[in-house]
Amino acid sequence: MNVDVAIETKGDSPQITETFDTPPATRARGRRPTRSQLLGLASLAIISLVPVPFGDFGYFIGQYATIYAILGLSVVVVTGYAGLISLMPYSFAGIGAMATGAAMASWGWPFWLALPFAAAATVPFALFVGITSVRLKGLYLAIATLTISNALGETFFTWAPVTGGDSGHLVGRPVVGPIDFGSDLAFYLLCLGAVFVLLFMVEGLRTSRMGRAMLAVRDNELEAQALGINVAKTKLVAFVLSGMIAGLGGAFLAQLLISVTPNAFQSPFAEATSLLLVTLVAIGGMDRAIGAFVGAIALVVQQQVFNGFEFFFAFVGIYAAVVLIAFLLFRPGGLVQVGKILAALVRTRPALGISIIAIILVTNIGGAWLILSLS
């Protein structure tokens, strides 16, 4: 019935990028920030202040969202930029968390030393997966990472010297020199600082030589090779960078949880949380660093707010899955792309655009408030 349609699609080159942005070939370094960049910074600052009126509960959710944004950034690098499906970002976070736990609780290292150690600890694992990814493409890599995540849960995360046995490690909140990050506000600010630094680094990576090599590999491996890009090296770098970012996120996660137990990183929690990370990045916008931040806010905040209310908690799961599928089908660029469309609408037809944004904000915030006050 739709023979011609099928043949037509067959003729297209297998690219997933038609709907994504391509980065500028020249770097924006040295120029004055544009108005939209300043607007973006201002909105980031306002979003960061949202938890303040909610006190400790707000800070707790803020810490969760920022840490998941860091973990999401690791997905942006490997899946968004390099186009390699990894279903094990949370396992890398687990390695980082365990390294932090072992370093701080067992060996008495200070936090500022444990942080780079957590990132470094993921490197051998990331290299191993990266080498696999050179040989495996697409869904075979998805199966491989899923399997490795599962196998790490049975081996690495049962290895008592690293994990501290079933009870895990007791990690305190970080103290750096004279500054004590023990209070919820201070720790929230620390997480926020970390996520902003990483956000700018990952966004900077996108326009760097290596980042554009990753995008080229994602779009068409053969073409990239013809352009003189070392595909294997690019994939390895993507996995190592992604692993290191996830390791850093894991270090912060260990600080957030205070006690890290290995079973959080074993099957099936590891797979489930990895899926959540991939989901939130896909909802936020896979190929932009800010997508991880937006996605983490959209999903983690909902999930943590409704955590106590099982009914709504499951509803968030269903809702997130439906939103994910809808985005992937119709707007693969995620919330970032939707935001851009809305921004364009505000510019051309201000009244309509602003009222749509207002409706979205009011229904979301009002709905959450209604549910919380009813329960």
Partner: protein, 307 residues
């Protein structure tokens, strides 16, 4: 296990879990070959059948009838997934297809959690006989034997049907060359739906055989572990499908038994080797992946069409 497991018992356990892996793998391969989607939601679709079964038995429907209704629900979930979602995704956008399959897995497993109401455990009534049967002097659960026999029967029946029937021929034609099949008058959407329906039915059957009988005479228990998107058995099922390179049905059946028997027979191995039991599936899968088994079972052209 605390007692020394005799060879007969372990073999039957291996055969029955192998048969379940084989059923899941056959469904995965059928869907992948015909529509190019590696169904990460396979377990979750099967869960829909089990959830229906649990809800039906809870309101007093006889278990055998409830199992049938569950099966129908599994088929409906799979066909809906294709009609509403995968039909609309262009081929060749593999990252998106994988992510959508993952989203679907989350969707169905969230629905399952929602429907079962967040208990730590949900009890299921059995629908197969649960008494013990004497096999060579060893008492073995009848449900294990029934699972092994019926799964093997269904798997072989399916393979014969796929080889001989008109529908099976059409499905193979779609798998081998979509465009040529469509030019020959085979309706792509119809046969893709059939592939999704049968694949989901196999997944639903596998789960309906395992979960309601997981706790012997008391029936079955679903834990929160089972309600996660990939469950506990999807990874060995992927492994079994990989034995046939994700494209070859009979080898996927063989693969199911390889994974089932490897896991159970390792119990008998001497001490350091029996510890491998937990990770044997992962080791086998990585080995199969790096071997790139798909090149033994499909031509280059067919594989490119699937990508």
């Amino acid at each position: 296990m605390i007692y020394a497991a005799p060879v007969t018992e372990v073999t039957i356990f291996g055969l029955s879990s192998g048969a379940v892996f084989a059923l899941l793998a056959l469904g995965l391969v059928l869907i992948y070959r015909t529509t190019g989607v590696l169904n990460f939601a396979h377990w979750a679709i099967g869960l829909m059948a089990v959830v229906t079964y649990a809800m039906m038995t809870a309101i007093g429907v006889p278990p055998q009838l409830a199992a049938l209704l569950g099966l129908a629900m599994g088929v409906a979930s799979g066909v809906l997934a294709y009609r509403l979602v995968f039909k609309r995704v262009g081929r060749g956008r593999q990252v998106i297809v994988i992510l959508i399959a993952i989203g679907l897995a989350q969707f169905y497993s969230s629905v399952a959690q929602f429907a079962l109401g967040f208990e730590q455990f949900t009890r299921l009534e059995p629908w197969l006989p649960t008494g013990d049967v004497d096999v060579g002097g060893v008492a073995i659960r009848a449900s294990e034997i029934a699972t092994a026999v019926s799964a093997i029967g269904i798997a072989f029946g399916f393979l014969v049907w796929f080889k001989l029937s008109r529908t099976g021929r059409a499905l193979r034609a779609v798998a081998q060359n979509r465009e040529a099949a469509m030019l020959a008058g085979i309706d792509d959407v119809k046969y893709s739906s059939i592939a999704w329906g049968i694949g989901s039915a196999l997944a639903a059957l596998a789960l309906l055989l395992v979960l309601p009988h997981s706790a012997g005479t008391q029936g079955g228990i679903i834990t929160t572990f089972d309600l996660t998107p990939f469950g506990t058995l999807l990874i060995p099922a992927f492994g079994a499908a990989l034995v046939g390179g994700l494209v070859h049905l009979p080898m996927a059946l063989v693969g199911g038994f390889v994974f089932g028997l490897a896991r159970e027979l390792l119990i008998l191995a001497p001490k350091p080797w029996s510890d491998l039991r937990a990770s044997v599936a992962a080791i086998l899968i990585l080995f199969l992946l790096l071997l790139r088994t798909e090149r033994f079972f499909a031509t280059r052209q067919e594989l490119e069409a699937l990508e």
